[in-house]
Symmetry: C2
Subunit: 200 residues, 2 copies
């Protein structure tokens, strides 16, 4: 990587860091693009080199922690499908907690309309949770862990629905409960109920 690419990466990182801090503290609607660039120590126009629209920075902010979980899950070996999902739920809510309610709010707002989510370099929508979870379920079908007639696509939607449901509800309630307590108490039950009929 040459000097130019390094400094460009550095600038983007400065924007993401500044954005994260400001959104966490004040909320997305309460700040403007210039607040972010001032905090990052760059000019306003620079923001639009790295992000097409103001909202787009939130996807990059959350891609850092949430992207890690997806990688973890893909690497994981020797666990049952339900154990894998329980782990995923737990880590997801850990990220929700660490990102904070304002970031989660705006993130959810963004992904509600996939047309507003820009493709990344590798041509995937941010919401690659979906493809990743679907692959894991499909593998479980192929390996015989799940029955052949398992409706993989629908089940994937249900898992996503559980994850984003928890997050949405947490935001709506203004953070009235502990995400991790929640997953601890109910994830197992929900996942077991969903998969019961499809486990071999």
């Amino acid at each position: 990587m040459n000097k130019r690419q390094t400094s460009a990466q550095k600038t983007k990182r400065k924007l993401i860091t500044a954005g994260l801090e400001l959104i966490k503290e004040k909320g997305f609607d309460a700040i403007n693009v210039e607040d972010i660039t001032k905090k990052a120590g760059v000019a306003k126009g620079t923001f639009y080199i790295y992000f097409k629209r103001k909202e787009d920075i939130v996807l990059d902010i959350s891609r850092v922690p949430f992207g890690e979980i997806a990688e973890e899950l893909e690497k994981m070996e020797g666990l049952s499908i339900t154990e894998k999902l329980q782990h995923y739920f737990h880590r997801f809510m850990e990220c929700v907690e660490s990102c904070g309610i304002n970031v989660c709010r705006q993130w959810t707002r963004d992904v509600l309309d996939p047309n507003n989510v820009p493709d990344t370099k590798d041509g995937q929508k941010w919401n690659y949770d979906f493809e990743m979870l679907k692959n894991i379920l499909r593998d479980a079908v192929l390996s015989g862990e799940l029955k052949k007639d398992t409706p993989v696509e629908l089940l994937t939607h249900i898992i996503i629905s559980e994850l984003y449901g928890m997050m949405t509800c947490w935001c709506m309630s203004d953070g009235k409960f502990e995400p991790l307590e929640w997953t601890g108490q109910f994830c197992r039950i929900q996942i077991d109920a969903i998969f019961k009929q499809y486990l071999n």
Copy 2:
């Protein structure tokens, strides 16, 4: 009700109708306040007599169908708690479908931050689903249908999380599945799993 009040009510209804049609068709972000007032046949300023902010109209738009369900549920007699909730899930998704994806998207965006949700005349936040569901669960505890140590508040959050999870997921997937099929296939399972340990 005198002539003034009647005409004011009529104007508000015109705005809500115009707003619903435009948002359904084009999406909330793609229209502006003047589009709505033009369609309703009033001046721009009139909008701000009835709604503090542009977003606020969406809450009134969705309050019509979703408010009805809450009333239905409160009136319902002679049903078990799980039957009541199944009915609620079903009706909720019926409303989701009839409102259409653009309205649901903006509605979800709005309620994600309760601070942005204005109180209604009766001093309640829009999200009175929560209070209503909590009351139903509390009644079930009092009547002995549910155990005394049922964590009513937490269970209410979980039900809300299931409802809004389905809706969020539907919006995220750009309407890739049928909400009613979904509830038909999975509601009973989810609700049974959640309540199993608390039923007497």
